[in-house]
């Protein structure tokens, strides 16, 4: 499944943003312009499409509609997320718009449209909604009885995966939250353990090899369960003491855990993979290799990978095309999202063989950055 187009209205930082997406996409922009919010719009649709989730739950897990609705939304109170995607040779178009309902924090669907190719399969509100307004509290996407003609679309959307391994949470290794999609690594080890033995061993062997490049003193790695059945990662290092024991995840460095999470996610099967700043905690030389790893995954499985990044090392890869860059810029009317290929300067620079880091990153640095050198850091009083 590949998301080919995204259209957002009043979604967080974006009053209006429309752009095409490639199989590999790098979202760049200054701090707080909404890089993560683009990933969140896709997670949102994925949660709406989940029969155990649905629209109301996706809204309440984001603390209601007010934090979602853009501050730049003025007369038009409606929030809309629309995607176009290709799934097994079929083009789909799905748009969901909603606004505040009467009950506190609840929302109502203001429109929902499903197209398969050029054919409109659903267009709400319809006659049934007019008769029973209560129906507008749910999307048809989330209802197995209502989505029969576009079940494939719903299934495809639920296959979207988001990953942002937070090493502290992996180390705490709390018992599973019960959610199958905890993205922060709380149940990362549970997820590793849930894969069939043979597959897991094969993958861990490959990860071990890749990790040994970044962490040369690493010797061996595996997954074991303790007496209570909780899975633990064990790693053994070359050490001056020949019989130095195994170390468990709580002793692993941030970088080791992040890289492990990244490699596992890239090897995993499934729908589009959304990654939050994969460069975090990695050595710059390792971060610089991330785009090549993504490209290799694409060549093998055609799995779409969308990342947010600030990293010059990562964007220095000369194989990155201007179509694969989404540049976010703050304006007085919300964040503007521009595909690199649609920006004349970026296009010209990259056509001359300049890497994306040089062509794009200067456009994402704050204009008054020099003031950080002189801003007072004295504590008042």
């Amino acid at each position: 499944m590949k998301i080919t187009y995204l259209d957002l209205k009043n979604w967080r930082n974006f009053k209006a943003a429309k752009f095409a997406l490639q199989s590999r996409m790098f979202i760049v922009g200054p701090n707080a312009t909404g890089k993560s919010n683009i990933l969140d719009s896709l997670r949102f649709l994925s949660e709406v499409a989940d029969p155990q989730g649905g629209l109301q739950r996706a809204i309440s897990s984001r603390r209601g509609i007010s934090p979602i609705r853009s501050l730049f939304a003025r007369k038009d109170p409606e929030v809309m997320v629309r995607v176009q995607l290709e799934h097994e040779g079929t083009a789909w178009d799905y748009a969901l718009a909603f606004k505040s309902g009467k009950a506190r924090d609840a929302v109502v669907v203001s429109s929902e449209v499903v197209k398969k190719g050029a054919k409109v399969l659903l267009s709400r509100p319809d006659g049934d909604d007019d008769k029973d307004a209560e129906r507008l509290s749910q999307s048809h996407l989330e209802q197995v009885t209502a989505n029969r003609s576009f079940r494939e679309l719903a299934t495809a959307l639920t296959s979207i995966r988001y990953l942002h391994v937070v090493p502290q949470l992996v180390r705490e290794s709390l018992p599973s939250t019960g959610s199958a999609k905890d993205p922060f690594g709380r149940d990362f080890l549970e997820r590793l353990a849930s894969v069939p033995d043979k597959t897991r061993k094969g993958r861990l062997k490959k990860i071990e090899k890749a990790l040994q490049v970044a962490v040369p003193q690493l010797r061996q790695m595996d997954l074991v369960r303790d007496v209570r059945g909780t899975p633990h990662l064990r790693l053994r290092y070359h050490h001056w003491r020949p019989n130095a024991g195994w170390q468990q995840e709580e002793q692993l460095s941030d970088g080791t855990l992040r890289l492990l999470g990244l490699l596992w996610a890239l090897m995993d099967k499934g729908g589009p993979l959304l990654l939050e700043e994969p460069e975090l905690s990695l050595h710059s030389a390792v971060a610089a290799k991330v785009p090549q790893m993504m490209a290799r995954v694409l060549q093998r499985s055609d799995r779409q990978v969308i990342v947010t990044t600030h990293s010059a090392d990562l964007l220095g890869d000369e194989g990155i095309a201007p179509e694969e860059i989404l540049l976010l810029t703050p304006t007085s009317d919300g964040t503007r999202a521009t595909v690199g290929a649609d920006d004349e300067e970026i296009r010209a620079l990259m056509a001359a063989g300049v890497p994306a880091s040089t062509a794009v990153l200067p456009r994402t640095a704050p204009e008054n950055i020099a003031e950080l050198d002189t801003v007072s850091l004295d504590s008042p009083g």
């Binding site: 490639q22 030389a285 290799r296 220095g316 000369e318 095309a321 201007p322 300049v354």
Partner: protein, 203 residues
């Protein structure tokens, strides 16, 4: 004999393996190369590398690109090189050195050797030549990796850096390349000279 470390600076990831091969060839132990990502960034940091070359050997490798003369470009970029600095320019791009090993390039891409140009240093755009050869490759993974995908306006394919690096590491022959590319031969000679200067400083 003690190992002599060599600090290496290149413009892009696809040049790393070539620089490493050259360094090993003349008996240096290369440190993991610094990739500046583009010539502009390299230019900005050149004086920093040059300062460092007062005490340890540095090998900086860049492409001539559209400049007319390598010797002039070196003088312009670095009028006063330190004793252990060697700045070398590939004519026109490192890809011409890669193409100079015609037989291995042909075997790698599975194209007839007659399709690989004879005078790679004379090519106006060696990178484009290499990519056009890849277009005719019988190996699908190389065709898909080296050639830009339809719909994307990049100059190289997504896997270009890692596939070139792998070829250079595993198959490219420096001893053959120096015979066909004068630019490559002179870079090796310059490295030999740097090695001699480094030994002289050390003793």
């Amino acid at each position: 004999m003690t190992v002599q470390p060599l600090y290496i600076v290149v413009e892009g990831a696809s040049d790393v393996e070539i620089a490493v091969k050259l360094a090993r060839h003349v008996g240096f132990e290369p440190r993991p190369p610094i990739t500046t990502v583009g010539s502009a960034a390299m230019h900005r940091r050149l004086s920093e590398f040059n300062r460092a070359a007062a005490s340890l050997p540095w090998f900086v490798l860049r492409d001539l690109d559209t400049h007319s003369c390598a010797a002039n470009l070196v003088r312009e970029l670095l009028p006063r090189p330190r004793r252990l600095m060697s700045l070398r320019i590939a004519v026109r791009e490192m890809e011409s050195w890669v193409l100079a090993d015609r037989e291995q390039v042909a075997a790698w891409l599975k194209v007839p050797v007659t399709k690989v140009p004879n005078d790679s240093d004379g090519l106006p755009d060696p990178k484009a030549t290499l990519i056009n050869l890849a277009r005719q490759s019988k190996v699908r993974s190389l065709r898909e990796g080296l050639v830009p995908e339809p719909g994307l306006s990049s100059t190289v394919g997504k896997l270009y850096p890692s596939q070139i690096a792998r070829f250079v590491r595993e198959a490219w022959r420096l001893d053959v390349a120096v015979k066909r590319s004068d630019s490559c031969r002179r870079a090796v000679a310059a490295l030999h000279a740097l090695k001699a200067r480094t030994s002289a400083v050390a003793t």
